[in-house]
């Protein structure tokens, strides 16, 4: 591959991975992949500057379809791994991709703490409200009453609200997209990558095989872009109120942004003053450092 050496600007096509997605035809994840490729091209990023980290699930195959450094890690652990990547080399642009089960279920603990720490990551959750790769079981974001293979008589648990959860846990850029609106997705993703903190975009990405309830039509009839509503993203209360609406009208767009909170690597004392990443500093410690340590032991 020679793409990094080109003079002309990269396009979305340059971010196509080595293999084609094996997602079902019509899967909402195609749109998010396309939107992400467009976003990084428009931002002028090169593949080697980006690390795309995922967990396990249909949507977590994303790094294989996206031309950048990638880590396809364990189920639910993408945010923990991505935090390690970003903190050890803060110069990298780190994207995290996955699904609702991966992020809000098995990885829920990491979601809470990554938000609280405001790690400078862009987290794209392809939320299809179902477990797809395991052939259709209830997910933490499935609606009450939904019938799945593991809830044949209907789901009795209430779903997580990713938007209010992210805001309450401390995420500083919280948006919602829909696979049926690529333009809005590109706006949200570019804003998320440029945002210096933990950015979460929950994306309605319909599962055309296993979720018969939350289809493209279901969302097309309900989505209402916040951009048209005069919503102020600095107002977290209003953001949460709008995020709680679901039945007839479901808002998409940027719910919340706070640029005043510093990201974890910006607060990390050993990275003060533009220090190089710990991934690339010399390993050896100095004789003076050694002597100071040993003196304290005597």
């Amino acid at each position: 591959m020679t793409i990094e050496l080109r003079e002309k600007p990269l396009t979305a096509r340059d971010f196509k991975g080595k293999v084609d997605p094996d997602w079902c035809p019509g899967c909402g994840d195609f749109a998010l992949l396309r939107a992400t490729q467009m976003s990084v091209a428009e931002l002028g990023l090169s593949p080697h500057q980006i690390v795309c980290v995922s967990g396990i699930g249909c949507s977590s195959n994303f790094p294989g379809y996206f031309n950048s450094y990638g880590m396809h890690t364990l189920h639910g652990r993408a945010l923990a791994v991505a935090t390690g990547v970003k903190m050890a080399n803060q110069t990298l642009t780190v994207l995290v991709t996955g699904g609702d089960g991966d992020g809000y279920g098995i990885g829920g603990n990491h979601f809470t703490h990554t938000a609280r720490r405001n790690v400078d990551l862009t987290y794209l959750v392809m939320n299809n409200q179902i477990y797809g790769l395991t052939t259709g079981q209830v997910s933490p974001s499935s609606s009450v009453g939904m019938k799945t293979k593991s809830t044949p008589f209907g789901n009795i648990e209430r779903p997580v609200n990713p938007i209010t959860s992210a805001i309450m846990n401390g995420a500083t850029y919280v948006g919602r997209g829909f696979s049926g609106n690529i333009k809005q997705l590109v706006r949200l993703i570019k804003g998320a990558i440029e945002h210096p903190g933990f950015a979460v975009i929950d994306v309605f990405s319909p599962c055309v095989t296993f979720n018969r309830d939350n289809t493209y039509d279901f969302f097309r009839q309900r989505v209402a872009p916040l951009e048209d509503e005069g919503h102020d993203p600095s107002d977290w209360k209003s953001a949460c109120e709008r995020a709680m609406e679901w039945d007839d009208r479901i808002y998409t767009g940027l719910f919340y942004q706070d640029q005043a909170v510093q990201s974890l690597h910006a607060l990390e004392p050993i990275l003060d003053g533009g220090a190089p990443p710990v991934s690339h500093v010399p390993e050896a410690i100095t004789q003076e450092q050694r002597d100071r340590i040993v003196r304290r032991m005597m």
Partner: protein
């Protein structure tokens, strides 16, 4: 028997009574005089109350264990006196606050050194006064000039201000003077050697080994008895440019470590058995993605939450079997704090070479013990070999295959950010390019190729890692086999047996996996009677040894009550085995000192 000064001081009391401070002061006084120290703190998972017994053995020769005896018992409460006075032999000292502690039955020749603390200090309210007064008595009994203690107290308390220093010195002086008037000091006073020693805990040594090896990312979740590593790292991080993170759980720790290591930073994390259990899936992921990370498991008595403040060698099989699947890993069990220090740097070079995870098995005995170390032995500039790591642009525009099937199985490892080397690493099986062969493109030929490639990486391991060797008497009637932290106490048990005319040798195993099966088989081929000594119930190491070599031991000495072996426990076991008086082949020593 060993020559020279060899003296053990035990300080007992409840948590919250301030045992650590006199312990630290004495430790510093000893090592500054060039004397060796081996201290074991028997404690409980409680912040206030309970019973703690800190045993500090000070010796002219290296102290390889905390010893068999208590020569001076400082009782900070009645409970300590009641529990341990009976362990004192002729010539030993019991130091206590006579205002509120009464000695009971005792052996002849024990010096009962009761201090009238209120009378000495004129302050009945200061609960810590007895500790400081006792230091005065101990300094006198050990034959030290008061100035030695005075300077130690000054160093200890100077951060708290002149008033604190002078009041402590006054109380200590009162204790010293009272002792001079009433108690008999040691006939052979505490010696002095010209070269002062330093003092560290095993956890300090593990952390310093990491710092010396160039660890730049350390993360952990607090868990006894591993937390000392986190504390050392946190305290020294800024000065050394080490990023230290406390994470929400050990699953997060291990995965964050994998992410950091992937960027090229040398990365380490430490936990105990329960946290290690949570880390295991990520350990397998490090093997699959071929990312080098050091995972330290400081073993404590299990299973489950177990006994958090007690020691055991119970996690060997957990380490051997950590994570699903069949993969390459290095497992090593250092033998003491000094060895742990050096082992970390050695392990990092190995895993950077082989691009695989390593598991370091320490235990509470090593990690929370306090030991002397000659300062010149603390070499914090070990060789650092990063293997086939690519961290900077080399002008190579590709194609680059992360998992290139090379002759030695080791593929050049580019880290994110390097132009021309873009690739995806995956916990799914993948081909040379990193493309998944787990779902759509399953391929038995490629799967076999990658399994064999990863396995082949360690082909030259045995040329790089020394095999254990038999040490001790030739033509020994008994050969003692141990692993990890029992090395020192076995060596001291051997000294006792040899003094009784028993011909004995030992094999101390440190590098556990890959196992030096041929070398160990050869080493034990001439053994007349092989005994295996381990700090667990089921003989985990024996079963492993048998599986790797087919060797079945002639007998066992095992301890699993939470307390570490003392030398005589092993010597007694060997004698019993030599007399063929061990029913069932397993000798289990009694723990006499109940803590």
């Amino acid at each position: 028997m060993s020559q020279g000064f060899d003296f053990s001081i035990a300080i007992g009391g409840a948590a919250g009574q301030g045992i650590a401070t006199p312990g630290n002061i004495l430790a510093r006084m000893f090592v500054r005089r060039g004397l060796h120290l081996n201290a074991y703190n028997a404690y409980q998972s409680i912040i206030r109350g309970g019973h703690i017994l800190l045993t500090m053995r000070v010796r002219e020769q290296e102290a390889l264990s905390h010893g068999d005896h208590i020569h001076l018992l400082l009782c900070l409460n009645q409970d300590t006196m009641t529990r341990h006075l009976r362990h004192l032999g002729p010539g030993a000292y019991a130091v206590y606050n006579a205002d509120n502690i009464t000695p009971g039955e005792h052996q002849d020749g024990v010096h009962l050194c009761g201090m009238p603390v209120t009378e000495l200090t004129g302050d009945a309210k200061n609960k810590l006064a007895q500790n400081t007064a006792a230091l005065g008595v101990i300094a006198h009994v050990l034959g030290l000039d008061f100035e030695v203690l005075e300077s130690a107290l000054t160093l200890q308390f100077q951060r708290k201000g002149e008033a604190v220093v002078s009041s402590n010195v006054a109380v200590a002086r009162a204790g010293y003077e009272y002792s001079s008037a009433h108690f008999t000091p040691l006939a052979n006073p505490l010696p002095q050697h010209p070269d002062p020693l330093a003092v560290w805990t095993g956890n300090d040594a593990l952390a310093m080994g990491g710092a010396a090896a160039g660890v730049k990312f350390y993360c952990a979740y607090p868990m006894s008895p591993s937390t000392g590593v986190l504390h050392w790292m946190a305290k020294n991080a800024r000065e050394l440019g080490i990023m230290v993170r406390q994470v929400e759980d050990e699953i997060g720790v291990a995965n964050m470590a994998v992410g950091a290591a992937h960027t090229g930073a040398r990365t380490m994390c430490a936990t105990s058995g329960g946290g290690f259990a949570l880390m295991t899936e990520a350990i397998g992921s490090a093997a699959m993605m071929e990312i080098p990370v050091v995972f330290i498991n400081v073993m404590r008595a299990g299973p489950s939450t177990g006994v958090p403040t007690k020691t055991e060698q119970g996690d060997l099989w957990q380490a051997l079997g950590a994570s699903q699947g069949d993969f390459e890993r290095i497992v090593v069990a250092p033998q003491d704090a000094h060895d742990a220090f050096g082992t970390i740097a050695e392990v990092f070079n190995l895993i950077d070479r082989y691009q695989c995870p390593a598991i370091v098995l320490s235990d509470l005995l090593i990690s929370e013990g306090t030991f002397s170390v000659p300062p010149d032995d603390i070499d914090m500039s070990p060789p650092i070999e990063r293997g086939k790591l690519i961290r900077e642009s080399n002008g190579d525009a590709g194609p680059y295959n992360r998992y290139l099937d090379t002759a030695d199985g080791i593929s050049p490892r580019a880290v994110p950010g390097v132009p021309g080397h873009v690739h995806v690493v995956a916990t799914d099986e993948h081909d040379e390019e990193g493309i998944l062969i787990s779902d759509e493109f399953t391929n038995p030929i490629k799967r076999r190729q990658m399994v064999e490639k990863r396995a082949r990486k360690l082909d030259d391991y045995f040329t790089r890692v020394a095999a254990p060797e038999v040490e001790g008497d030739e033509d020994a009637e008994v050969t003692l086999v141990g692993w990890g932290s029992t090395a020192g106490v076995i060596a001291e048990a051997m000294e006792q047996l040899q003094a009784d005319g028993v011909k004995v040798n030992r094999l101390a195993v440190k590098w556990i996996l890959p196992f030096h099966a041929e070398a160990v088989t050869e080493a034990l081929s001439g053994a007349r009677k092989t005994l295996i000594i381990e700090n667990n119930h089921s003989g985990q190491f024996h079963r492993y040894l048998r599986s790797e070599t087919g060797i079945t031991a002639d007998g066992h000495i095992r301890k699993y009550d939470g307390e570490p072996f003392m030398p005589h426990h092993i010597a007694d076991g060997v004698r019993a085995h030599l007399a063929d008086s061990v029913a069932g082949g397993v000798f289990v020593p009694d723990q006499e000192i109940l803590v």
